[in-house]
Symmetry: C2
Subunit: 476 residues, 2 copies
């Protein structure tokens, strides 16, 4: 049960954003209260401002009345950073109405957008100009949420993450409460002291609410080439990446590893997907390679797929033992269906991790051994962005397994696996999903004492009252 909402708060917020944009009814509130994967609470109210000025007014009022405020974009995050807790006292500040602004500057190759504009909306508009915002994700987040999470995705090796493409932000600060910080320069070169926008990237809403942004956009590729490759050995997985970067470094947009279990799972559960290697069996491991070129076939004088095919032929029996060429959308369908398909296998225990590329082979081996020895009833469905070191190390607890699912064992598994990732392999316990209430305890376990001390000092400097953001990055 949620606590009754203070009528004064209700009336004050309604006066700021309009009665129609304040939701107090459980049915209206529901979709703002539950996260895409984690986070399931109760909000006192949902407040939906339509402008930076309204956001500022809401922040001012909530800070003045010590009302906890949770910023929310499209609510597609995976660490519970944009949903309320179960207290029923928190107000969700939805930014979804900050979407009237979407201006493309063709000559500057930038887009200026409201924080509530979604990735899909942005890309639809950009496509009309032959441009794209190339952060590739399995969701449709808002731009504000993408900045707060610093999303990465499958094509990071070519285009970088959100941080790399962010030229400007506007932020409503926690302190002074409601002050608007305008950093909306669309400059690529501007070395004038602290790059203050970095303080609001990837911190899940700490210290301020992002209301607008200027992002760098890119020309849409005119041709792509794909192949599903079976490496000759595990070492060949890395060697092939090095070769591809050396030979096709300008074009490599994705190098996605998939274990046999993930491909099998897709074939078993997704209609219309067959073994792409038939009549050969599904290999132990395969790699989806994508090249993309801005230049058309006419300008380059050759097609990229042909060049990739020739390269793979030269690597046959050296680094490559089999390959499916030019599968395009069909191959990506396998890759994009993994997460959905493995839900049929049992209860998903997801790990969004990264290690240095040079450690990926050793990490996979060690982690598999740890699972075999300590948790033999669990099944691994891992797939990874080898080019950036990120891995979705998904583990499934089968419905019919013995022992039956229990949360304590899952927690023991989490700690054991993250310990391996961070302490033994120098990796990250959250490669691209960020830190939220769901995984804040791991931040405090793995960030060094020096890092936490410094982060805490920065966070307090920005937001002494800790009014915005759900995670305390200082020592606890």
């Amino acid at each position: 049960m949620s606590a009754p909402t203070d009528p004064e708060l209700r009336n004050a917020l309604a006066a700021l954003v309009g009665e129609a944009n304040l939701y107090a009814d459980p049915a209206d509130k529901a979709r703002y209260e539950t996260g895409a994967r984690y986070g399931n609470g109760k909000a006192a109210l949902i407040v939906r401002p339509a402008s930076t000025a309204e956001v500022a007014a809401v922040v001012r009022h909530c800070v003045a009345t010590a009302t906890p405020l949770i910023a929310q974009g499209a609510n597609t995050g995976l660490v519970a950073a944009s949903t309320p807790d179960e207290s029923g006292t928190q107000v969700v500040l939805s930014l979804e109405r900050l979407r009237s602004e979407l201006v493309i500057d063709r000559a500057n190759r930038t887009a200026t957008v409201g924080a509530g504009v979604t990735l899909q909306e942005l890309n639809d508009k950009l496509a009309e100009h032959g441009l794209c915002f190339p952060i590739d994700l399995g969701a449709n987040p808002s731009i504000g949420g993408m900045i707060a999470t610093n999303t990465g995705g499958a094509r990071l090796i070519r285009y970088g993450d959100v941080r790399h493409n962010l030229l400007g932000v506007e932020v409503v600060l926690a302190d002074p409460p409601g002050q608007v910080l305008d950093l909306m320069s669309g400059l690529r070169k501007n070395n004038t002291g602290y790059d203050l926008k970095q303080l609001f990237v990837g911190v899940g809403g700490a210290g301020g609410v992002i209301t607008r942004a200027v992002v760098q956009v890119h020309p849409l590729p005119r041709q792509t080439a794909t192949a599903l490759i079976v490496p000759t050995t595990q070492q060949a997985t890395l060697d092939l990446l090095i070769e591809l970067e050396s030979e096709f470094g300008d074009f490599l947009t994705a190098y996605e590893g998939m274990s046999r279990s993930t491909v099998q799972s897709v074939i078993d559960h997704v209609p219309g997907v067959a073994n792409p290697f038939a009549p050969e069996p599904i290999p132990d491991y395969c790699l989806l390679v994508e090249l993309a070129a801005t230049s058309s076939r006419e300008v380059l004088g050759v097609d990229l797929q042909g060049a990739l095919n020739d390269f793979l032929e030269r690597q046959f029996d050296v680094l490559v033992s089999n390959a499916v060429l030019d599968g395009g959308p069909d191959l990506w369908k396998i890759r994009h269906s993994i997460s959905e398909s493995i839900r049929h296998q049992g209860k998903l225990i997801a790990f969004d991790i990264a290690v240095p590329r040079s450690s990926m082979i050793a990490f996979r081996e060690t982690a598999q051994r740890m699972l075999d020895q300590g948790f033999p009833w669990l099944r691994l469905f891992d797939f990874g962005h080898w080019a950036d070191g990120g891995t979705h190390f998904n583990i499934v607890w089968p419905h019919d397994a013995t022992p039956a699912y229990d949360a304590d064992t899952v927690e023991r598994l989490r700690v054991a696996l993250y310990d391996l990732v961070v302490r033994d392999f120098g990796g990250s316990f959250s490669a691209e999903h960020g830190v939220g209430p769901y995984n804040a305890r791991f931040y405090h376990r793995y960030a060094s004492a020096e890092s936490q001390a410094l982060a805490g000092r920065v966070q307090r400097a920005l937001d002494p009252a800790r009014a915005l953001g759900q995670v305390d990055f200082g020592p606890v």
Copy 2:
């Protein structure tokens, strides 16, 4: 005259780094006391630690004794951030001995380096592996200095600046004094709260001394194509950039504009350089275009120069009125000789500015008009990185001009031009050189009150005693 140096300080520092690495003699100190362009003072001592531990010990001692400390890399910066003032009381902390570490991880495509390693040393070693650190500059800075300045350069549009290629740093903190902050992960994906390394990028040594770094490196290009292009109109300069990014976005590494005066100056003063357009006269404005491909001609099936030539032929009389094709090193020699050649013309008044690309044409016109009207005896030698919006808007006061050179007029010019850049065109008064004692007054003039307040709070949080860094980024 410098003040006499406290013998206790001298002895204490000598005990930390060894007598041989403490310079007190004027002849030994001289090369550390004068900057590459600005900054000419007197140091109490030069201290040259050889390890992170020695740097930490020096920082601890200097903070404890309230001794001002100036970190210095290769001392190639242009804003006086690494040289002492005239008081003779500051100690220069040279990082030049932190160069024993230079480790290349081929599979991770990274290099781990000591802060004193120079760009040239790094690139020489990388070249053996077919790799490069592609920040292109007219100097040979240390890696630590590059991070402290966030250097950009001529190829930013392809590779980004230092910030974009920095995967990890080690920093000796000002507070707690001498504490080592180890952020040396070589990860490309690591979204775990504040990206603390950003706090030490581009701030000229504020808050900490960078002692080591992990940088992302890139495959060396296997082929390049160049052309020196005359656009049909001023607008064509931007339109051609858009077309080139659209057709050759994967390859465009440089798009460097040069005004007639700069090309003429190089021809007049640099032996062996002739008018590349002869028998045509030097055009009003020309553009050095460079494409670079990791893929060899064999892999791509066509040479890049041929593709560029074909493109330019299609643009002839549309966006291009003349072009010199495939000039390679000769064309770059013109571009790289500009700064040197214009020193023959008179006293250089350099401006390192940026505006949004979409404003570059209007800015040039307006600035030229302002010069013609207010300072008609001055001569403009501007050249610009059009692809990233940066311009070296160099103005020369001819030796024989009337009126004669005077500093007050130069200051009036600086303020007038920077006002135009920042206030009228939303640009930057320091595109790539950073902020140091030389231009700190312009930071305080142009950074918004909100930005300065926030920057000051962050700086105080990191370094309450203001022990490291010469610029106070808070309000003054």
